[in-house]
Symmetry: C2
Subunit: 301 residues, 2 copies
């Protein structure tokens, strides 16, 4: 029996409510997890399902990924995304990528190509062009809300002194267990408002922002990216789950303890190989939805 | 009492001997580990020692990092480096960086700056310029050997079909335990000959190519980068060491078993918090030197 979780980022209630009413987020998550469920129920592989769910979240301007991504210090959109197959630990990722509507689909091409795991910057854009992805101008990605957030960032006195994420918009992600018992994870983000050009967070880093391993679990993280990179959080949770024979919930708790070592901020969603779902976050809010072992969809917004 | 290990890459005997006699590698390692020993004996912090040792290895054209880096598919030099402080898990990294003599010193600036962990491509180059690093032309980096290796790569029928590393030149690295009991790790590389522009291997990825945590160990990896990225090898070894109370050697063996899950190729050096040294590799050769708890330097070339 299949399981599926998706998330739309972690952050504060103030920022969440400034962007849209909670009902809008819930509707968006409902539509995406419904599409994922239809695929899983029909026997689709977890890898295809997490790619499709993340691409839908990228297309929705409510979320900080793809269309609706935040702007970096140069007022440009640079995006990170990754996808991982729990069957064989194959993975593909892109970072600091500009001008592509669905970075997660480029990451999937990197995975299928198999020669590299991570491509960045202009090299990633060139790979995307070679694979037939349309090159879009920044105007495709920028929404009035993200421009307003960028203006607010620029007008702050010490705009990036604390390196904090802004808004419930850290990233989007999906994790799934398919009917064949295979796990997969995918993550995508515009990063944080005002980030320096070339900054890569956890979303493109296998083991930090995501991990999928049929022997343990699949997870996707959101929050202050550097905290997840330094603690290598996704792989750490997978290791705790495997080594000590922990349940999904106990492994998730161990992950939050590791994040606390760096006073980290954020959370993650997790599906283990038995189909159990778990979510943890230490921010005010995290937006997510889950279907555990084919049951009713649950929403937290 | 201090411990120190350095490495100069893993690969085949044929490639090693084509580049230089083993005695040249041994002399180079001797000089670098001697410089590191002087610093540690004088009370220098592990972080400064691993930065200095890796910068010396970058400056030596024998090794694939800094001056002497291999050429990518465009016949250009793009370099990855990272450094990590075991005291507080702070880290800095750069990837796909062009035109800077010592990428590990830029990574150290990223660490000290603290706002980001990983900067890539032109954004990383801009950060380096802002920090006063001189911008050098590619002619500074390219040696006749690397140009010959690039020609050989270009003339192969399926030049990157297997994604294999060429030569005993995967990367350089250093790990240290200082007299205060703090651990640090650093890694630097030119990647692999003929890599696509924008490809990032494990050397710039915290948890894949390096990790340092005072609670467990410090390690630096070398080999086929993607294998280390997919297994998140460095953090995995640190986790095995911590969770099961394993010795350095037993944790290292567990790491090689993890690498075998993806038929991975390469190795690593490791110093644990007690000062014990370990090294493992599944290639024909790995070039390294170690000083365990202030003792005599040992060399494997």
């Amino acid at each position: 029996m299949y399981s599926l979780m998706i998330h739309g980022g972690a952050g504060t209630s103030r920022d969440l409510e400034a962007a849209a009413p909670a009902s809008d987020y819930r509707s968006a998550l409902d539509r995406v997890i419904g599409a994922g469920r239809d695929m899983l129920a029909g026997g689709a592989p977890a890898l295809a399902v997490v790619e499709h769910c993340v691409a839908l979240l990228e297309d929705d301007p409510l979320f900080n990924a793809g269309h609706g991504s935040v702007l970096n210090a140069d007022a440009l959109v640079e995006m990170d995304a990754a996808i991982m197959d729990g069957r064989d630990l194959r993975a593909g990722a892109v970072a600091a990528l500009r001008g592509v509507a669905n970075p997660v689909r480029v990451a999937r091409h990197v995975l299928d190509d198999g020669r590299c795991v991570l491509l960045v910057g202009s090299g990633a854009a060139r790979f995307a062009a070679q694979r037939g992805f349309e090159r879009l101008g920044d105007e495709h990605f920028v929404t009035p809300l993200r421009l307003a957030q960028w203006w607010a960032w620029r007008d702050r006195e010490a705009p990036d002194a604390d390196g904090a994420e802004r808004g419930p918009t850290g990233t989007v992600g999906a994790v799934a267990l398919d009917r064949e018992g295979h796990l997969a994870a995918a993550t995508s983000t515009g990063g944080r408002t005002g980030k320096p050009a070339g900054r890569v967070g956890d979303s493109a880093i296998v083991g930090a922002g995501l991990y999928a391993d049929d022997a343990t679990c699949a997870l996707s993280c959101t929050g202050r990216g550097e905290d997840f990179v330094r603690t290598v959080l996704a792989k750490t949770v997978a290791e705790r789950s495997r080594l000590a024979g922990l349940t999904a919930g106990a492994a998730a708790d161990a992950g939050m303890a590791e994040l606390a070592r760096v006073a980290g901020s954020g959370g993650f969603i997790l599906v283990d190989r038995s189909g159990a779902c778990a979510a943890r976050f230490n921010t005010e809010r995290m937006l997510y939805a889950s279907i555990e072992r084919g049951g009713e969809a649950r929403f937290v917004v």
